[in-house]
């Protein structure tokens, strides 16, 4: 199983806090560093708090992976989910803006990609398919309107593809 980013954040946070307190006791320069470390800690706390806010859907993701692995062992038809697909989906979920509700998770039967779906009512649905590559397929229905396409997802930029956010907000009926 991959390392859990929440665990990494927690340990990073604890280490930085300890370093900041030690530095503040030594000199004014060290105190300056301590203040900066505090700022980093504040950011990390924000990220950790946000990650926790997605705890439910992240647990669903893990549950679906475990179910697919069990099905595979039992000779079922569920496809194998790659580590990259799992990791990409997890990063995608963590980077979702707080204004976007949790999507529902499923494993797709054709290639083991991970489906993240928002359903706002009859024929008001939008989904992304997160697979092994950084190119994410998406599709949605909004009444009689339909959309599909591909968006680039680069976790290093730390943002959800703008096209995806636009479509979710549009189908949800929220202002863009």
């Amino acid at each position: 199983m991959p390392e859990d980013i929440r665990t990494i954040l927690t340990f990073s946070h604890v280490a930085l806090r300890a370093f900041g307190k030690m530095s503040a006791a030594l000199s004014p320069e060290a105190g300056n560093i301590s203040a900066r470390v505090e700022a980093v800690c504040f950011s990390l706390e924000g990220i950790a708090a946000y990650t926790n806010s997605r705890a439910g859907v992240l647990a669903d993701l893990d549950g679906q992976i475990i179910e697919s692995l069990s099905s595979e062992e039992d000779g079922g038809e569920a496809p194998t989910v790659s580590f990259n697909s799992y990791w990409n989906a997890k990063e995608f979920l963590i980077l979702l803006p707080a204004s976007i509700p949790d999507p529902e998770v499923a494993i797709e039967p054709d290639d083991g990609a991970i489906s993240l779906e928002w359903h706002f009512g009859y024929r008001r649905v939008f989904a992304v398919s997160v697979g092994q590559s950084r190119r994410i397929a998406f599709a949605g229905l909004n009444g009689t309107d339909r959309v599909h396409g591909v968006a680039e997802f680069d976790e290093k930029q730390g943002v959800t593809p703008s096209k995806v956010l636009e479509e979710v907000r549009s189908i949800a009926g929220w202002p863009r």
């Binding site: 179910e67 039992d74 529902e104 290639d111 009859y122």
Partner: protein, 142 residues
């Protein structure tokens, strides 16, 4: 018109109901029993969606077909949809026996770009899923 071993007509009418047996819990929304689009995406091996023709069966008989034909008899229920809905999405629906009552959705769109192909198929599967109803598995018969 040819008859199949199941005594069904080989031609499937738009008004017929077919069911896709759900083998992944994630293919049904937890709270509402709504069918989600991945339930209708084609299988990896043959690039077609395997279904069963359900007209004339009650819920118990449908569950028996699922138990008999799904790997290890494992499934959660059936996503039921009218054939006409599937054909409106430009897919073909054909009888494909054996086993009895088996059918397939074929003609899923192709594209050189794997992600673009997936996106197009998702849109079709979403449109089908919106018109589908979930029929839970009956585990105990009185």
């Amino acid at each position: 018109m040819a008859a199949l071993t199941s005594c069904f007509s080989e031609e499937i009418d738009d008004s017929e109901h077919v069911g896709r047996f759900i083998t992944s819990s994630g293919h049904v929304a937890k709270t509402k029993g709504r069918v989600k689009y991945p339930a209708f995406l084609p299988d990896k091996v043959d690039d077609e969606t395997s279904v069963f023709r359900l007209d004339g069966l009650d819920e118990r008989q449908i569950s028996e077909i699922g138990a008999k034909n799904m790997p290890n008899g494992h499934f959660y229920g059936a996503a039921v949809v009218k054939v006409g809905v599937v054909r409106r999405e430009t897919l073909t629906v054909l009888a494909d026996e054996p086993p009895d009552r088996h059918g397939v959705f074929r003609s899923w769109p192709l594209h050189d770009d794997a992600e673009f192909k997936k996106a197009r198929r998702m849109e079709i599967a979403e449109a089908i899923a919106e018109e589908a109803a979930f029929l839970p598995r009956i585990t105990k018969v009185s």
